[in-house]
């Protein structure tokens, strides 16, 4: 399964060309030679896998942070931290996510991904300047930033495909409002690195689950 997925992803990468084009490009327009027309399910698989990687990486980074900054942890207690994305209304459970409209769900995903592009690059810069982190951790932050960017492009492609196929309406508009979000804590201070990492870990988990639920609703499979 993983091999076929890899080949699919490779061809998808050729077609989608996520990195170079900022603007949305048609997915394998007719007449484009050498490009297989990928099904929506394949595209979903690709982005879901990407989001899983993203979440895994953010979780690793968070673990490293905890190791450095919070060595003594007896319980799983979490002090409430307000993330800058808390203003985005996100479904808090499976049923809520399943009840949400597809367009809204897609929009939420895009909002989240858009909101994290800049903060992650800031995180990387701030981590690179500090000597507490080894290069591996700061590279992870950079990689996270790139991955978020790629994933956003991928989700945009999927959205276009869905709109093309008529599965969702054309009212998805996830690019406009979220760009104004700035990472700011309650007290107005910029969030610390740890807070950023903590929040991003949570949000990447949200994105991953939302994408899965969306796929299950869009592409009918057994068990969905």
């Amino acid at each position: 399964f993983s091999r076929s997925l890899q080949t699919v992803l490779f061809v998808a990468l050729l077609c989608l060309d996520l990195r170079t084009h900022v603007g949305s490009a048609p997915i394998c327009p007719h007449g484009h030679t050498g490009c297989h027309i990928l099904s929506l399910a394949d595209l979903f698989d690709r982005v879901i896998q990407h989001s899983a990687r993203l979440h895994g990486l953010s979780s690793d980074l968070h673990s490293e942070f905890e190791h450095f900054f919070l060595p003594s942890k007896n319980h799983i207690g979490r002090v409430y931290r307000k993330c800058h994305t808390s203003s985005i209304l996100t479904p808090n459970g499976k049923e809520n996510a399943q009840k949400l409209a597809r367009e809204e769900l897609t929009e939420v995903i895009l909002k989240l991904l858009t909101a994290w592009r800049d903060p992650l690059s800031q995180l990387h810069q701030s981590m690179a300047h500090q000597q507490d982190f080894n290069s591996f951790s700061s590279n992870k932050a950079l990689e996270l930033s790139d991955m978020v960017h790629e994933l956003r492009k991928g989700v945009e492609k999927v959205t276009e495909k869905m709109q093309l196929l008529g599965m969702i309406s054309n009212s998805v508009n996830g690019l406009s409002s979220s760009e104004a979000l700035l990472p700011a804590s309650e007290s107005g201070e910029a969030m610390s690195d740890y807070e950023l990492v903590y929040c991003f870990r949570r949000d990447s988990d949200k994105v991953q689950n939302y994408l899965k639920i969306l796929k299950c609703r869009i592409v009918p499979e057994h068990g969905c």
Partner: protein, 582 residues
């Protein structure tokens, strides 16, 4: 904490867990405060850290069946939301414990179900086997919709071991276990966790894996039998070899003390024609024997011309041995080597027999440095490498020839070339006497030549034997083997040369002595010689002094000896010698 009794333990939360990321439960303990263990004495309040911050609410549902458990249903479970729960005493306004978390971080999935195993294969030896373990995700976890993505970890151990072996995390629902042993029983269990999280759930029930060893005894037994039989066979073979080759082994292990041999050429070498070794031996002989030979001036030595051999002149070893050096006028090419055979002296009746070559030095057969011979060296006739030291006359084509002075009982021929300078008549007699005297085995001091002769002619056996036996050595059986023929080069001039050769093994080679070309003109003071007619079975020479010719001796080209009418077949009898001698 040893003093648990003394140290009061406050009521506290023992944990909060979610099984499927949709609901969760919290448990608490009253601690040492027994008065608070009554139901209702402690209450749980929770707060969700949202914006806006909600109020503290009491536990939505205290589980009826389980003591001290607070259950949060789906409606109260918000993922990705921070919760804080507090344990408060009902009566007083005391908060004993607080615990904050987010739901996704307290998810401990239920154990997988349907754990089973199938045999993949058994190794050839029947000692190991591989199995494939299969399972199903926990029913409570919604993996189909993708709400939860699980990773599984399989653990196994031997029945009574204490340590569990862990396999790598698996995303699928099956995994192989390799390298289990057949006669042991294994216990396998599995648990799972959410991807990218660290909380493993409970273990599943263990399953037991046991594969009976495939007829191990039967498979082992024949191999043992084979092994034992192989070893026994090998031993028997070894014994056979040892016993059959006992002699050889004894020789190898306990090499016999070398008996004092007559120094000289190993007859084996001569037999097989190993000229290089022969040459080296002869040359070494030369060095060694130099002193001893000097003692007896009466003994002539056949001189081996090894200079050419050492120079790799291109002529074969046989040629060199026979004295057949490169054709062409050599003039005085032999440094100091007396040439007994001087073709120029052909007309000279004295120069015939090589035995008359003077010997000024006593060189062993092998001598290279020819004795300073006054005789002119000009011999363009190839001469044998060993030749008697010519005194002056030289044989024309005769390679050399030596007078057989005596025949040893062992069959060796004792040659004693006579001195050329002396009257032929005298010498033979004297020589003969001496020879006879020296013919005894005891007379070892004299240098006795043994052998040689080379027959280049086709009629003769092509083997030329040159051998010299040192007198110092007792007559060992070596003389018997002393006569080997060295094959002359086919391209040699059909000269012939010379001396007869003795073949101890009774080969039908002309066992006689063929002084083939003793041209009458070069009949020097030849000591009497005897024609060896043949060698009988006992390796004794049969001398036939009167036989002028050997039946097997083809008429030698007498071209070199035109003036030898009276010499039949090149034989020279003593009478002839006397006649011929000046």
């Amino acid at each position: 904490m040893d003093k648990t009794r003394d140290t009061p333990v406050l009521p506290h939360f023992t944990g909060c867990r979610s099984r499927e990321q949709e609901t969760f439960r919290c448990w608490w303990s009253a601690g040492t405060f027994s008065n608070l263990s009554e139901p209702g004495a402690l209450v749980v309040f929770f707060q969700m850290k949202n914006t806006p911050l909600s109020d503290w609410q009491e536990c939505p549902e205290y589980t009826a069946t389980v003591e001290n458990e607070c259950y949060f249903s789906k409606t109260f479970t918000h993922i990705w939301t921070s919760y804080c729960v507090q344990l408060r005493a009902t009566a007083q306004n005391i908060t004993y414990d607080e615990f904050c978390f987010t739901v996704e971080n307290i998810v401990h999935p239920d154990p997988p179900v349907g754990l089973n195993w199938t045999l993949l294969n058994v190794s050839r030896s029947g000692l190991n086997f591989d199995i494939l373990v299969r399972w199903a995700p926990p029913p409570s976890a919604d993996v189909h919709t993708g709400w939860m993505s699980l990773k599984y970890e399989v653990q196994y151990r031997q029945r009574n071991a204490s340590h569990w072996d862990k396999l790598d995390l698996e995303s699928g629902t099956q995994q192989s276990i390799y390298g289990l042993q057949t006669d042991k029983e294994y216990e396998v269990r599995i648990h799972c966790k959410m991807s990218a999280f660290h909380n493993f759930g409970e273990f599943s029930d263990s399953i037991f894996v046991h594969v009976a060893p495939i007829p191990s005894k039967e498979s082992v037994f024949p191999t043992m039998v084979l092994l034992v039989s192989g070893v026994v066979g090998l031993l028997i073979l070894l014994m056979l070899v040892i016993f059959s080759q006992q002699q050889r082994l004894m020789v190898i292990l306990l090499p016999p003390v070398p008996a004092p041999k007559i120094k000289g050429i190993d007859p084996e070498l001569l037999k097989k024609g190993k000229m290089d070794q022969l040459n080296s031996l002869l040359s070494s002989q030369h060095m060694y024997n130099q002193d001893t030979y000097r003692e007896d001036p009466w003994v002539e030595f056949i001189q081996l011309d090894l200079d050419d051999a050492g120079e790799k002149s291109g002529s074969s070893d046989t040629q060199r041995l026979l004295g057949f050096t490169r054709p062409g006028p050599k003039g005085d090419d032999d440094s100091g080597r007396a040439s007994c055979y001087d073709p120029d002296l052909l007309p000279d009746a004295e120069g015939l027999l090589a035995a008359h070559c003077e010997m000024e030095e006593h060189h062993p057969l092998v001598s290279e440095s020819g004795p300073s011979t006054p005789s002119p060296e000009a011999t363009d006739a190839p001469f044998l490498p060993f030749r008697t030291q010519p005194v002056g006359q030289s044989w024309i084509n005769m390679d050399f020839y030596a007078q057989v002075s005596d025949v040893t009982p062992a069959g060796g021929v004792v040659l004693s070339p006579g001195q050329q300078s002396e009257t032929p008549g005298m010498n033979p007699d004297e020589k003969k006497k001496k020879g006879e005297d020296a013919g005894d085995e005891e007379v070892e001091k004299e240098k006795k030549l043994q052998l040689l002769v080379v027959g280049s002619d086709g009629g003769y056996s092509p083997e030329v034997v040159a051998r010299q036996v040192e007198s110092s050595a007792p007559y060992s059986p070596a003389p018997e083997n002393a006569y080997h023929a060295l094959p002359p080069e086919p391209g040699e001039e059909p000269q012939t040369w010379s001396v007869g050769y003795l073949v101890p093994d009774g080969e039908a080679q002309a066992p006689y002595f063929l002084p083939e070309a003793p041209p009458a003109s070069v009949l020097p003071p030849v000591s009497d010689y005897t024609v060896v007619q043949e060698v009988d079975g006992q390796h004794s020479l049969l001398l036939n002094p009167s036989a002028p010719q050997s039946p097997a001796c083809p008429p030698n080209p007498t071209k070199h000896l035109p003036s030898m009418p009276a010499v039949p077949m090149g034989y020279l009898t003593p009478e002839l010698l006397e006649n011929l001698s000046p």
